[in-house]
């Protein structure tokens, strides 16, 4: 278990070293990412400028949801965001090289890039979260702290699994990046807002099909001490880690299946 992490660190370390060869461009990217992500948050504020509540949610509560989703998504993006460029590997056949090495191909794809500049977005989420947590006056008990600890890793795994399943499509379409983006970047956007304001079919879709409701919504209900407006039992709030494990299992099976359909490229 530890050894792959060490190898991943070496792979990623190498990527970071090569990014630092272009220092100026790196710095500009980092600052740009940090600033641009505030525009997202601005959208939340614009909504509340016009309405005072979204369903049962007040502005600070939505900001809490927003901040959690942002951090989780930014960290996922940092770890595996380069899956966006993955279809290129399929198209030009460079995926071949990963297949002749004695490691899982998914592991190698994940270790093939690491854009440190994406930390900018996570930093922005952290700032919003720190502010909101201070403003919300949450009674921090053992259960809430435990939830706080598990929710970000669970969210990363769920986001990541959706991303991986979407990327599997590239094995057939050799492209299809935009379709995947609808679920990844789109999913991030959805999970910044309370699920209960959505229409029933979309809500079900997010709870049962693409389990993004478990990314932030249910854990946030628990931490904020809000009753579920949809009347689901309290236990559902704690399902995120299990859903994360399940999503990862589905992603891993889908990936294996997809790799067996790899067609390589001529030459």
């Amino acid at each position: 278990m530890v050894e792959p992490v060490l190898v991943w660190r070496r792979l990623v370390g190498a990527q970071i070293r090569s990014q630092f060869q272009y220092r100026l461009s790196f710095t500009i990217d980092l600052i740009g990412n940090f600033l641009i992500s505030f525009i997202d948050f601005l959208a939340v504020l614009v909504i509340f400028h016009n309405v005072t509540q979204l369903g049962t949610w007040r502005v600070r509560e939505v900001a809490f949801l927003y901040a959690f989703s942002s951090i989780s998504f930014a960290l996922t993006d940092l770890l595996i965001g380069h899956l966006d460029q993955f279809p290129q590997k399929i198209r030009d056949g460079t995926f071949d090289i990963l297949l002749v090495r004695p490691r899982s191909t998914l592991f190698q794809v994940i270790g093939s890039d690491f854009q440190l500049r994406r930390l900018g977005k996570a930093t922005q989420g952290a700032i919003v979260l720190a502010y909101v947590v201070g403003a919300l006056d949450i009674p921090w008990d053992a259960g809430r702290v435990a939830m706080l600890i598990v929710m970000v890793p669970s969210a990363i795994v769920i986001f990541g699994s959706v991303w991986v399943v979407g990327s599997c499509l590239a094995f057939w379409t050799t492209d299809g990046g935009e379709f995947t983006n609808a679920f990844t970047y789109g999913g991030n956007f959805m999970s910044q807002y309370p699920v209960d304001i959505l229409s029933t079919w979309l809500r079900r879709f997010l709870a049962y099909v693409v389990p993004l409701a478990f990314v932030c919504y249910f854990p946030a209900l628990y931490i904020l001490g809000k009753p579920d407006p949809l009347g689901l039992p309290r236990a559902v709030d704690f399902l995120s880690p299990l859903v994360a494990v399940g999503a990862a299992a589905v992603a891993s099976v889908a990936w294996r299946f997809a790799v067996r359909h790899y067609r390589s490229a001529g030459g």
Binding site: A14, L99, P102, S104, S264
Partner: protein
């Protein structure tokens, strides 16, 4: 080392812009062959003949449509990771080194990916540095290397973990004469000294002639030749030429089993089949011989003839 039985691979291709028709392309059609440990063999065929597809099935990159493959006793696509530890692969046209990093950093990363023990890594790296003369560019980023330097780096990368079997897809493509020779010498050396089995595809017939004892030729997905180069020449090459320099100009020699093709002063060109030593002694008996030279049929010509012949038969 390699066992292939009735191996086939089909690709489904859709053509047309609006009405997409389904076409099945048979890249490899039921080929069978065996490779023993320690062989150095060439795999030859025109573009699109199925060479790369075969290699990709042998290395676990592609899953066969039908047939059986066993490499080092393993089914490549099912036990890919196990197999990857025991084989090395180099694709002349794909870069497997890290583009922005110094060459040495790529080797370091590969050492960890392949879990090569430190002392073994040091020993083999030291050896490749010497044999392939890597030292002048070991700390240069890969993107700044010349093609010849990069290929030497790629070969090292494919061999660092000490594979028993090496697959090379056009290893000498685009290299100049000197670089080509260095690569060929290296392959001969690892094959001879370490008993590494080498299977290489190439368009360069020089590679085949200098390196390989045995040759597989594939065309349109079917194996059309499996045998030694000598046999190939015997079968398709036909006649060889004996060039003799006599002491003084003479009329065309009349000898059994040979005919004179050309005369230029004291030099005569004799086309013959069969044993050269027999013919040489008959020449020596009938004229005063100063020097002689045997010209083998051009392998390029032979290969052209096989491709053509196989197509006609089909």
């Amino acid at each position: 080392m390699i066992e292939v039985d009735e191996l086939s691979k089909q690709f489904v291709v859709r053509r047309g812009r609006f009405r997409r028709e389904r076409h099945v392309v048979e890249a490899v059609r039921g080929i069978s062959f065996r490779v023993e440990r320690g062989e150095l063999l060439g795999y030859l065929g025109p573009n699109g003949a199925g060479k790369s597809t075969t290699i990709k099935m042998l290395t676990g990159i592609l899953v066969p449509s039908s047939g059986r493959v066993s490499v080092a006793g393993l089914d490549p696509s099912r036990r890919r990771i196990e197999l990857a530890r025991r084989i090395g692969a180099m694709f002349g046209q794909r870069v497997q080194l890290w583009w922005d990093l110094p060459l040495l950093d790529s080797f370091e990363l590969l050492r960890h990916i392949y879990k090569v023990p430190p002392d073994r890594y040091r020993a083999s790296l030291a050896r490749f540095r010497e044999v392939l003369e890597l030292d002048p560019f070991l700390h240069t980023p890969v993107r700044q290397l010349s093609l010849g330097q990069r290929i030497r780096g790629e070969l090292t990368a494919a061999m660092l973990h000490g594979p028993e079997l090496l697959f090379l897809d056009e290893p000498t493509i685009g290299l100049d004469v000197v670089a080509k020779q260095r690569v060929r010498d290296f392959l001969v050396e690892i094959n001879r000294d370490e008993g590494v089995t080498v299977l290489l595809t190439t368009h360069d017939l020089g590679d085949i002639e200098r390196l390989c004892n045995r040759l597989l030729v594939i065309d349109q997905g079917s194996l059309i030749w499996d045998g030694t180069i000598a046999d190939l020449k015997e079968r398709y090459g036909g006649e060889r030429t004996l060039v003799v320099d006599l002491e003084e100009p003479a009329p065309p020699l009349e000898l059994p089993g040979a005919r004179v093709e050309r005369v230029d002063g004291p030099r005569q060109w004799l086309r013959f089949r069969g044993s050269a030593s027999e013919l040489t002694s008959t020449v020596a008996a009938s004229a005063r011989l100063v020097d002689l030279q045997i010209m083998e049929p051009d392998i390029e010509e032979i290969v052209r003839r096989i491709y053509g012949g196989a197509r006609r038969e089909r």
